[in-house]
């Protein structure tokens, strides 16, 4: 369970990205967060693993405060939180396998990690993660030799190798074409179901949010303006989230 408690984030330049977020996300829920660029979606999911520190309030995961965690404790928390990114954030010149093994870094001793001395168990987990996203045979290729969709699957495999309890996905399909986007979203949803992983996904696309989400959270200017099921997320609701009328034909299919 993830609890956001009166969470506020003000960046050093004075920009208030989050203005008091209160949300409780039960274990295993697949939550899609929608909103315009700059609404605070990326900031919100980065507070879960403390890549962005809160200025006020706290994030509590299974009763453990992320804000109060010391360095070692924070690394343990992070090791159980997988994260995937819009631009995949793979190390392009490294092999696919080495990228996925990076997901084990939080689970092995620092020295073993630095020297790359991964156990058979770690290697097996890495290969199993690649198999689950359907690219087992790509393990020894360089990451930049793969297509965008395959690279995002490597990103998912890296997160899976962590054996995560929470998965954070920051615009995971914004750099992909529509069919690939659906394939990646299906993978995320399936894995969330199979492993009971609590998943937070930032999305631009309204139709995808409705299709995959258990729950949709709408954000505008750093506050939650909508929180409900996909059935409740009507066009009217989205107009409130985006703060302007939606032309269904133009906005839904384009880059809303």
């Amino acid at each position: 369970m993830i609890e956001f408690r009166d969470l506020e984030v003000t960046y050093p330049n004075g920009f208030k990205a989050l203005k008091g977020i209160d949300l409780t996300i039960p274990k295993g829920q697949f939550v899609v967060i929608v909103g315009l660029s700059g609404a605070g979606k990326s900031t919100l999911i980065r507070t879960v693993n403390h890549l962005v520190p809160p200025s006020n309030g706290d994030v509590v995961i299974d009763g453990r405060s992320v804000g109060d965690a010391k360095r070692g404790e924070l690394r343990r928390i992070r090791s159980k939180i997988g994260m995937i990114f819009q631009t995949f954030n793979l190390v392009k010149r490294s092999s696919v396998l080495r990228n996925v093994l990076a997901g084990r870094l939080g689970h092995v001793s620092p020295l073993r990690g630095l020297l790359g001395l991964f156990s058979k168990h770690d290697l097996a987990l890495a290969h199993e993660s690649l198999r689950r996203v359907g690219i087992a045979e790509k393990a020894w290729q360089r990451a930049d030799a793969l297509s965008g969709g395959q690279q995002q699957r490597v990103g998912i495999a890296r997160a899976l190798a962590q054996q995560p309890e929470v998965m954070l996905a920051d615009e995971p399909v914004a750099s992909l074409d529509p069919p690939t986007s659906h394939a990646v979203m299906s993978d995320l949803k399936r894995i969330s179901r199979e492993d009971g992983i609590t998943t937070l996904v930032n999305l631009h696309f309204i139709d995808m949010a409705r299709e995959y989400a258990d729950r949709i959270v709408g954000m505008r200017d750093g506050v939650v303006v909508f929180d409900g099921t996909p059935a409740e997320a009507t066009d009217q609701a989205f107009e409130d989230i985006y703060g302007r009328p939606i032309d269904v034909e133009k906005d839904l299919r384009g880059a809303a």
Binding site: R75, V91, K92
Partner: protein, 266 residues
Amino acid sequence: MLPEPAGTPAIPERPAGQRKVAAATLATFVALFVVSAWQTGFSVGDLATGTGDFFRFFGRMVPNWGYLPRVWGPILETLQIAYLGTLFGTALALPLLFLASANTTTDRVTLAVSRSVLTVLRSIPDLLYAALLAPILAIGPLPGVVALTLFSLAVLAKLGSETVEAADPGPMEAVRATGAGRNRVIVYAVVPQVAATMTSYVLYVFEINVRASVIIGLVGAGGIGQDLLARLNFFAYGDVSTIIVVIFVLVLAIDALSVWARSKLI
């Protein structure tokens, strides 16, 4: 097809500010040229009259191939000085370049201190290091190795930290998000991004060091430079020519090798 515009619009003028900057830049270059040429007494006439002396001197520069066997020892020492200087310099630069990069070192004091150390090291030319160190460490290859170590360290740490700071921050964020600490983030997300470029810089610095180790020999830091100076002082121009030919061939060979190796890296 776009419709024809009604009436030709006026071509916009380049802003006056930009034109002033261009004019000022040109004026600065011309002024510096005039002042430099006048104060150094640079004269095309002297260059022309000097040509005769040059050819007479050149006539005495026929290589004395009998001296060749005595070149190999010192030239090997020159290569060894360059190699050791590059090796030690690289070893010292590797930790320092991460301490001097803003994206791998967040502590401001550490960052400022390591950058200042590098700036001071870099501000002293290798020839000066050798000249200062030769009397302290005794004439010979040791001051040469230390001088080139300091020079390589300063150059590689500077170039390296610039490369590290230009690295894509995305992979670093991703590896940090898995629960890895700073050193593991560097090893997994930064090193693979900069390794090829850094290796190329190391080869380039070795190239420079081979040339530099000839020069620093002139101030007593070992190698072929020391012999070169001695033969010059004895007016043994034939021997000097032999040494120069060998240096020429060696530098060409090292350059070609280094260029080839670097082309394989990227």
